[in-house]
């Protein structure tokens, strides 16, 4: 009697959840960058937050992004709804999110340079 092993398709729920979280987080990071540079009260607020005795907007930005990634990842992974997204689809969306968010940040500072 032979046993057929079927190759797995689709992603584990945690992978899907955190993958979607990564996409959202990358875009959020870009938006936060633009917002804090464009809206001085937000930048001042981020500079005023002390983390382990250090006050710096970049530190706050980084921690906020990492926390957002894990929080959204946990939420999406825990959801009862099946995401059923393929690795190829998630990879495509993630690649676009990475490229567009990076270009968005670069483009913003390029525009600031020529102001």
């Amino acid at each position: 009697m032979t046993t057929t092993i079927y190759p797995e398709s689709g992603l584990n729920r945690i992978t899907s959840g955190f993958g979607i979280s990564a996409v959202i987080t990358l875009v959020a990071s870009m938006l936060l960058t633009i917002m804090k540079e464009s809206y001085p009260p937000l930048l001042s607020f981020m500079k005023s937050i002390s983390i382990l005795g250090v006050k710096h907007h970049w530190l706050v930005h980084g921690l906020a992004i990492v926390i957002l990634f894990y929080l959204l990842g946990w939420l999406f992974s825990s959801s009862r709804r099946d995401t059923n997204i393929s690795g190829a689809s998630l990879a495509t969306i993630l690649a676009w999110a990475t490229v567009l968010s990076s270009l968005g940040i670069f483009g913003f500072y390029l525009m600031e340079l020529f102001k």
Binding site: E8, N12, H56, V66, G87, A91, T92, L94, T98
Partner: protein, 153 residues
């Protein structure tokens, strides 16, 4: 000591890139025999990117202000206003991707799951290319300090 701290962050980043290339090569040849190595490599990559974050953050917050002032007074002010500003924010994308990578490798059987393998390929390539771009940006920023000190000569 200050220069040692400066050199740590690109060093850790390069180690992170090497670990990510290791992941990529292992996954291209994924089988039941190398699943543990894939997991180890992806965790290593993530750890090195976190170390890069910590050391670069320390340098940036404690020491960069002096270099920033020099760059802004010199002929390559764009090295801060465009390149450094972009670098410090694009880095977060690399960090998130590096933290995501072990979640794919540890949670899926890459020997049998082609879908997960495709995701690893793309995430790994994104980390590698983005990191190399940031390494180049860092070199440009360092050179801008030199340009300022040399008076643009």
């Amino acid at each position: 000591m200050k220069e040692f701290i400066l050199f740590l962050h690109p060093m850790f980043a390069v180690f992170g890139v090497i670990a990510t290339v290791w992941v990529l090569v292992e996954v291209l040849n994924a089988s039941e025999k190398n699943l543990k190595r894939i997991s180890a490599a992806s965790i290593t990559a993530a750890l090195f990117m976190v170390l890069t974050w910590i050391t670069s953050g320390y340098w940036y917050i404690v020491y960069y202000a002096t270099d920033k002032a020099l760059i802004l007074k010199g002929p390559w002010a764009f090295a801060h206003t465009l390149v450094m500003e972009t670098k410090e924010h694009v880095f977060f994308s690399i960090l998130i991707l590096a933290l995501f990578l072990p979640m794919i490798t540890l949670r899926n059987n890459l020997a049998t799951n082609a879908s997960a393998r495709k995701l690893v390929y793309v995430v790994a390539v994104l980390i590698i290319l983005s990191s190399l771009a940031l390494e180049g940006a860092g070199a440009l920023i360092s050179f801008a300090v030199r340009m300022s000190l040399l008076g643009g000569a």
